[in-house]
Symmetry: C2
Subunit: 215 residues, 2 copies
């Protein structure tokens, strides 16, 4: 009896604490690594660049997303640190986002084509979501991180990029290399960056009937 080995609690703790500190998703069954490791940091390295090959990969991933009847409503304005598009996207961000997003190597503005020459495009917002998720997962695959933002002035964006009617700027995305949370400055920002990720439990998310868990 005394020979039965105890479970290696130290190892279990190490695995758990590693998962927490890199903010890996905590799931009841394994999920793909790039999905489990994706989260949305604000702390980015103001010196590190996103290479053109990496940036192309992000946009190729988004380009090949599915869409309603292959209508492909997603488009991205692409700014690289130092160029004019980057400056214009940074300028239209909400103040709270500008404070950290100025360290991103790349700033994107995701637009939905809601009307084309065939008329209204259904599910354009949904389609931009499909494409943007591919984009942020490809960022993880590249060793980068991405954070999506709704906090920007859409009217100003329409004006500064002279967007035609039927093109809606819906999301700004900061892409870069992760940095220590301390680059964010205030204790409150560091705390928020280190906070655990939370989600509704699976039994409220996956349903057999409305209000009844599937599992």
């Amino acid at each position: 009896m005394w020979r039965r080995p105890l479970p290696d609690l130290h190892f279990l703790w190490l695995a758990y604490s590693t998962a927490v500190s890199d903010k890996r998703a905590l799931t009841s069954v394994g999920i793909h690594d790039i999905i489990a490791r994706r989260w949305s940091p604000r702390a980015l390295d103001a010196e590190a660049d996103v290479s053109e090959t990496q940036l192309r990969a992000l946009l190729e991933a988004a380009r090949w997303a599915p869409s309603f009847g292959n209508t492909q409503p997603a488009r991205y304005l692409v700014g690289v640190r130092g160029d004019d598009t980057y400056k214009r996207i940074l300028d239209v961000l909400a103040e709270g986002n500008r404070q950290w997003a100025h360290r991103a190597g790349v700033l994107l503005l995701g637009c939905a084509v809601t009307r084309n020459d065939k008329g209204d495009v259904p599910y354009a917002e949904y389609g931009l979501g499909l494409a943007s998720e591919n984009l942020v997962l490809q960022a993880v695959a590249e060793g980068l991180a991405a954070r999506q933002m709704a906090g920007f002035d859409a009217d100003a964006a329409r004006q500064v990029f002279d967007l035609p009617d039927g093109v809606e700027p819906l999301v700004a995305i900061a892409v870069g290399v992760r940095a220590e949370p301390e680059v964010l400055g205030t204790d409150r920002d560091v705390e928020r960056e280190n906070a655990p990720r939370v989600r509704v439990p699976l039994d409220e998310f996956a349903l057999r009937d409305w209000g009844t868990p599937a599992f």
Copy 2:
């Protein structure tokens, strides 16, 4: 001069034709395998099951998607071949979708929570798109395939699942094991299943300014 070897055209052709036959995305730079291999087949194996572990993985992947202010608007009704939820989802599909989707091992109905007890949820449709892309990519990681459908009767779905106000059924998703295109029956369906995937070119998708390619 005559010693210079010719490029191995046979090998290039083999690589190209393999990429075409498995419908891998054709990209200017490499992208992650599960993103490159994802497409939306209709030909599914009516005998093959999706295991509970696989199904949980799909839903865990979707659950950990990002969302606006972590509002998490996505929910899924989950039907497994033979159960009541599956039958109800199949019943509300458009006839053209029912003809192939009845072979799926799993049928899902993706809903967006557009209003909760704090009021309207912004970007709920976008958020459901982010979650559903995680779900269909996890399907690829599991060796499965998924096809999203807008063709279903949303009013009937609301009624049959007794969905509360502020919950919008937006997408049905068939998940299963791929089968030969011939299971679809007609020549026209087989031809459509085998057709190459197409997308707008990168220089119309990634822009420095509206109408100006980023690369």
